[in-house]
């Protein structure tokens, strides 16, 4: 929508009379002045190689800690010790009086059996599709 408005104003500014040209230039300046695009990340991205290096029935708890560092959380559930690693990504788009702040999280869960060997690896990437958006209405 912003692009359409901008294209309309540019065509107006180029083609119109002196007054219309000034209105177009002011409109473009107004749109470009009051804008901000900000990104915030917490934690390092989980690369595919690092996750593939976790082998079920082989990798130990120590090796996981060596690869990924100390977990953000340790959970005990259903007979497993579970290491939880998180990563957050956020994108803010702001133009004049409209803004939208999208936040996404990636979660890596590593399940260990009673011997401290990896039993299950669960990973979800939700930051990959995160977009810069300005329009706060709709979905």
């Amino acid at each position: 929508m912003k692009n359409n408005n901008l294209a309309f104003l540019i065509s107006y500014a180029v083609r119109g009379s002196a007054l219309v040209r000034w209105i177009g230039v002011l409109g473009i300046a107004g749109l470009l002045m009051g804008c901000a695009f900000v990104r915030g990340e917490v934690g390092e991205p989980f690369s595919e190689e690092r996750i593939k290096a976790l082998e079920k029935g082989k990798t130990t708890r120590q090796e996981v800690a060596l690869h990924f560092g100390a977990p953000d959380e340790v959970v005990e559930a259903n007979g497993y010790d579970i290491f939880h690693y998180r990563r957050f990504d956020s994108k803010l788009g702001w133009v004049l009086f409209f803004s939208r702040f999208n936040v996404g999280s990636d979660n890596l869960w590593v399940f260990f059996n009673s011997q401290g060997i990896v039993q299950e690896v669960v990973f979800g990437n939700r930051t990959g599709n995160l977009e810069f958006q300005v329009w706060p209405f709709g979905e």
């Binding site: 107004g30 959970v75 559930a77 259903n78 803004s99 999208n102 990636d106 890596l108 669960v122 990973f123």
Partner: protein, 128 residues
């Protein structure tokens, strides 16, 4: 014209969205007593939280949405005054949807429950 009118009124619309909502069609694909953790993760992604139950565990997925609107009535005074006084009225509404996935002690999917909020958030400035 609408944009200029909103700007002139000192309006401000802000939205914060945390993660994406999970559709009910996706949840229909889960099979109680059959699906394992990997099936759940393939369908819904990795959970945000895992908690222990007496038998089994519960996976939690969260989706948040909040909307804030403000109107600065002080903008009217910019016609008469060199400095615009701040006279804001604003309101923010936020909801968090939580999806619980309960897993049995044998690692199979048991049931799900969606904790929904009564009403979706809306843009409105009146705080009283």
């Amino acid at each position: 014209m609408v944009l200029i009118a909103l700007w002139g009124a000192g309006c401000d619309f802000r939205r914060v969205v945390v993660n994406a909502p999970i559709s009910s069609e996706t949840l229909q694909r889960l099979n109680p007593g059959e699906d394992l953790l990997n099936d759940i993760v393939q369908t819904l992604g990795a959970p945000d939280e895992i908690d222990e139950m007496t038998k089994g565990m519960v996976l939690r997925y969260r989706y948040g949405d909040s909307k804030t609107m403000r109107v600065n009535f002080g903008w009217i005074f910019r016609i008469f005054l060199p400095v615009v006084p701040s006279m804001h009225l604003g309101r923010g509404e936020g909801v968090t949807h939580v999806l619980h996935i309960a897993m049995n002690g044998d690692g199979t999917f048991d049931h799900y429950f969606v904790q929904d909020s009564p009403a979706p958030p809306r843009f409105w400035f009146w705080p009283f």
